[in-house]
């Protein structure tokens, strides 16, 4: 910074006067748009018109100050919209209770999926854990590199993410069960179920990601933090379900416990309504619950449509049975 002739004389006058004063009285105030952007103390009388500002600047704050001095007036005016001071205890109570609530919620989710899907529920639990670790890592990375701060709105995004992430597993498991009901073996049920599930998962996650993307671009502040966590967890969800859950299920489908359809595996074909017919063969699922009247009617109908040979065979069967009873 170099002053011109008139400036040099004036600056020399001011600095000689300020330098004689003590404490904050010898400080300059560099004012821009009514705000003090810097208040350096005078260290010496400067007569050559080449002042310097020195102090505990970081590279960033020094650059900001230099820019402000160079370009002068700021293009926008500021208006204080809100000012807030929250005591540390209040913030930490909120956070602790929020975390506690999240933990209780997660435990409930674990219990529910274990009841619903038995051992298979463990896959949900581990997949959620993997998703949680990746999300934690990403949030930490963002707050370290980009200065992102997790707000309560961001926490809300994370809470909803539990549901949406778990939904991917639920959609996948239900598709596998549907395939088992159709009488497929476990390995092919996993492959077929996956092919159908991943379409649904990608389509629904795309809509979710779109919501997050639009909100992130168009909104600021709180809403933006929320959109960021929502978008982040959507991507994490896709990664986890295709790179962790699916490979794990593939491995499990070759494991005896699951492949044999153990009662506790959550993939028991008998419980799923597929009728066991022989070695790895299942009948197509039938409408098991037919009303008694309907059954009687169809039995009559079947009897009416029998061929003569069938009727003969049927009556001789009855005879045999009668004889047996004697």
């Amino acid at each position: 910074m170099v002053f011109n002739g008139a400036g040099t004389t004036k600056f020399a006058d001011i600095t000689s006067r300020l330098n004689a004063l003590q404490g904050s009285l010898n400080q300059f105030a560099i004012v821009l748009d009514g705000r003090v952007i810097s208040a350096p103390a005078t260290k010496a009388v400067i007569t050559d018109g080449k002042p310097q500002i020195s102090g505990g600047f970081t590279q960033e704050s020094a650059k900001t100050l230099a820019d402000q001095l160079k370009y002068g007036a700021l293009p926008i005016g500021f208006e204080v919209q809100s000012s807030d001071s929250i005591s540390a205890t209040l913030g930490s109570t909120q956070l602790q209770s929020g975390l506690l609530a999240g933990l209780i919620g997660l435990i409930l989710v674990v219990v529910y999926s274990l009841i619903q899907y038995r051992t298979l529920g463990l896959v949900t639990v581990f997949s959620l854990a993997v998703a949680a670790v990746i999300t934690y890592f990403l949030v930490t990375l963002l707050s370290w590199r980009e200065g992102y701060r997790l707000s309560l709105a961001g926490v809300a995004g994370l809470i909803v993410a539990i549901g949406i992430t778990a939904d991917s597993f639920i959609v996948y498991f239900e598709r596998i069960r549907d395939e088992l009901r159709d009488g497929r073996g476990l390995e092919s049920a996993v492959e077929n179920g996956w092919r159908r599930a991943i379409r649904t998962i990608i389509a629904s996650d795309a809509v979710n990601f779109l919501a997050a993307g639009v909100l992130f671009v168009l909104a600021v502040g709180n809403v933006r933090g929320f959109a960021l966590t929502l978008g982040l967890t959507t991507i994490v969800d896709l990664f986890v379900v295709s790179l962790f859950t699916h490979p794990v299920l593939r491995l499990l489908s070759r494991n005896g416990f699951f492949a044999s359809g153990h009662r506790l595996s959550g993939l028991d074909p008998v419980a799923l309504g597929a009728v066991y017919r022989g070695r790895a063969q299942f009948a197509a699922p039938s409408a098991a619950r037919v009303s008694a009247g309907k059954a009687a009617k169809s039995a009559k109908e079947a009897a009416r449509r029998q061929t003569i040979a069938e009727r003969k065979a049927g009556s001789s069967d009855t005879n045999v049975a009668v004889k047996g009873d004697d």
Binding site: E79, Q81, S82, S83, S85, I86, S87, L90, T93, Q94, S97, G98, L100, A101, G102, I104, G105, V109, Y112, I115, Q116, L152, A153, V155, A156, G157, I159, V160, I162, G163, I164, A166, I170, V171, E174, D178, R181, T200, A203, S204, A206, N208, L210, A211, L215, V217, L218, A219, N222, V223, F226, L230, A271, G273, P285, A288, R289, V290, K297, E301
Partner: protein, 333 residues
Amino acid sequence: MASLTSLGNDLYTGARSVNFVGRRKIWYLVSTLLVLVSILGPIARGGFNFGIEFTGGSEFVVSGVPGGDQAIATNAVTSVVPDVAAKVSTLGTESIRVQTSQLTDVQTREIRQQLASDYNVTPEQVTASFIGATWGQDITSQAIRGLIVFLILAAIVMALYFRTWKMSLVAIVALIHDVIITAGIYGITGFEVTPGAVIGLLTILGYSLYDTVVVFDKIRENTLGNGADQSKTFGQQVNLAINQTLVRSINTSVVAALPVASILFIGAFVLGAGTLRDISLALLIGIAVGTYSTLFLAAPMYAQLRQREPAISKHDKKVLAEQSRVHQDTVSS
């Protein structure tokens, strides 16, 4: 709960089913009533109860007063500024929050000192803050702008993916239905509308649409090409699809609602008023309404829209004739 598995089997084969499509008039009536109540209820109550972030004002928080009497705060405020109404609520277990309309700096300082001396705490334990009226409105107007862009884009994406604009249309109708009802519950119960609630509402939009896409994808599978069961009418195909994903819908909404409910519970009973409670209430209502609207509103509406298409109505007539012939056969025998 394990019986859900056998219920799932029956729903899959069609042995048991909920008649979502056939009884649509009942569901439409229920939804219409809910929407009407959600619109008229808040009007009858005199509008929404907007939080300080929307109206602007001053807020004081006294910390370190376990079980503090709220009346002390009200008296402290009126002793300094007689004509100001103070909204007092408990935060957590040992803090008290006082919200008033906007005060001058002098009044703020006096109230702060009054609160400190009345509660026997140091002035440092009383925080005072000022919130401008534009803050909440800024967030909301941005949210609404984002929302409109999102709805248009989402409608286009869904129309392209499902290859029919009709799915987009009913999904958006169901979404608007969810938002009106969620907002309506805020209006009727008099819960404060804070930026937290607005964010919760936005989340609901995402969740509601997400849920609709998952169910619609199954409908697409059951009604398109090889997956379609030609012996069923279009409405029956759609109905079977909804029933086949019903176990998924139940499981997903329970799993999504459990964490939210526990946060609402902790938020409402342990923390008192606060962002967590505001967000989680909107979320809980929205998850319930979002799941309901997909099953009972969006899917039947979609079936109804498509039934009018010439190709589908021709197929339906053929199938119905066949089904009534089979039915008569069994009855006559």
